[in-house]
Symmetry: C2
Subunit: 201 residues, 2 copies
DNA sequence: GAGGGATGTTAATGCTCACTAACAGGGGTG
DNA sequence: CACCCCTGTTAGTGAGCATTAACATCCCTC
């Protein structure tokens, strides 16, 4: 029971376990509220073992945030490219984002709480990816609401994200399916509320 | 310039200055990212002077959060009581909340990021106040959408708060008036999207 | 079957930080 | 005018924590 008792090799399994634990713990207690030892304990090692996989705590947060930002941006691009017209693109973006925020609430939470604890470099990268994702939404919306100024659309998209991302804090007793439907309906209504007169059916 | 050079007496002026600085700094860097010395410097004293006004850092956060929660809850109750029917009550709640989130974004930010750093006691108190405020909204909505289950309405209200509170992170170049109008429109549409068929005009 | 890289472990190390001690000026009240 | 409370100040103090050092295993390759 002294030292070095492990010896598996399923590639970066420990690494991904650490990333998962980091997302969960950072979401629950905040970046500053989690210690290296907490992280080690969460993956069945001691704290310093972490340094065999990441250069430090900041880099760990960076890896989490860059990864989630990349996935969101990539997914957004793909959904829009595959969609058949802007109505369907918007629907796909909404569904995709909702799946994400219901499926990985920890990542969503960390993603918009911990930007300030990143390295300047990582923060720039994450911001760039976020901007790209937002522009994807804005482009789709612009096709549906040609009269609206682009700045308004951008603000609308950010507000819609606030709505969709509220999930981690407040799902309550609703099933995932029910919550998903509710968010879809609300998000859709909010984003298209720019038209002065909603047309029935 | 050695020691004790001050001597004003406008009552709790220093105290409110500290609370303001705390809201601003906690919003910008997070509770854990702000030191006692930062707080002292922000109000023109040194760090430890703070202990003449508050028993500690936790109590300071507690004072900020309890105060904002009380104000929101009280305001919500008053707006609903003074309103003429549920349509107008909802409108008033939306406008009130939007004013708040555009006018004091720091408080909004701290309010939903730092619950976890409160004393158990303060957390309970804040949660109770929040629940009361939410119920105010839910009651109004229930009158407008009698068919919807209360759990759905609660989730909808939380989601709408996410939308309205997104402001601090994302106002962009829009004027306050423009942003206010945009949020009002979106919030209204999102909350009333429960009706299966939106009726024109 | 010897060597070495990957991965852990425990024990420093050094910094940051909330909080406390000891001391001091200032002004209102007796 | 003497006292005393209010509010500051500077110098600890002790705990927590990221990171590094030194050392130990395991398994894979030659």
């Amino acid at each position: 029971m002294a030292a070095g008792t492990q010896g598996q090799r399923p590639a970066g399994e420990r690494r991904t376990a650490i990333l998962g634990a980091a997302a969960r713990l950072f979401a629950a207690h905040g970046y500053r509220g989690v210690t290296i030892d907490d992280l080690g304990r969460a993956v069945g090692t001691t704290g310093p073992a972490l340094y065999r996989h990441f250069p430090g705590k900041e880099a760990l947060l960076g890896a989490v945030l860059v990864d989630v930002s990349e996935r969101l941006a990539r997914r957004g691009r793909a959904l829009v490219a595959d969609a058949d017209g802007p109505e369907e693109a918007l629907e796909a973006l909404l569904r995709g984002h909702i799946d994400f925020s219901l499926g990985e609430p920890d990542l969503i939470t960390v993603h918009d709480r911990e930007l300030g604890n990143l390295t300047d470099d990582d923060r720039r990268r994450v911001r760039r990816l976020q901007r790209g994702y937002v522009e994807e939404w804005v482009n789709v919306l612009a096709a549906l609401r040609p009269a609206a100024p682009r700045a308004d659309l951008r603000a609308s998209v950010h507000a819609a994200f606030g709505l969709l991302n509220s999930t981690p804090h407040s799902r309550g007793p609703l099933s995932r399916a029910a919550m998903s439907a509710l968010l879809l309906r609300m998000g859709h209504a909010a984003l298209l509320s720019g038209e002065s007169t909603p047309r029935p059916s």
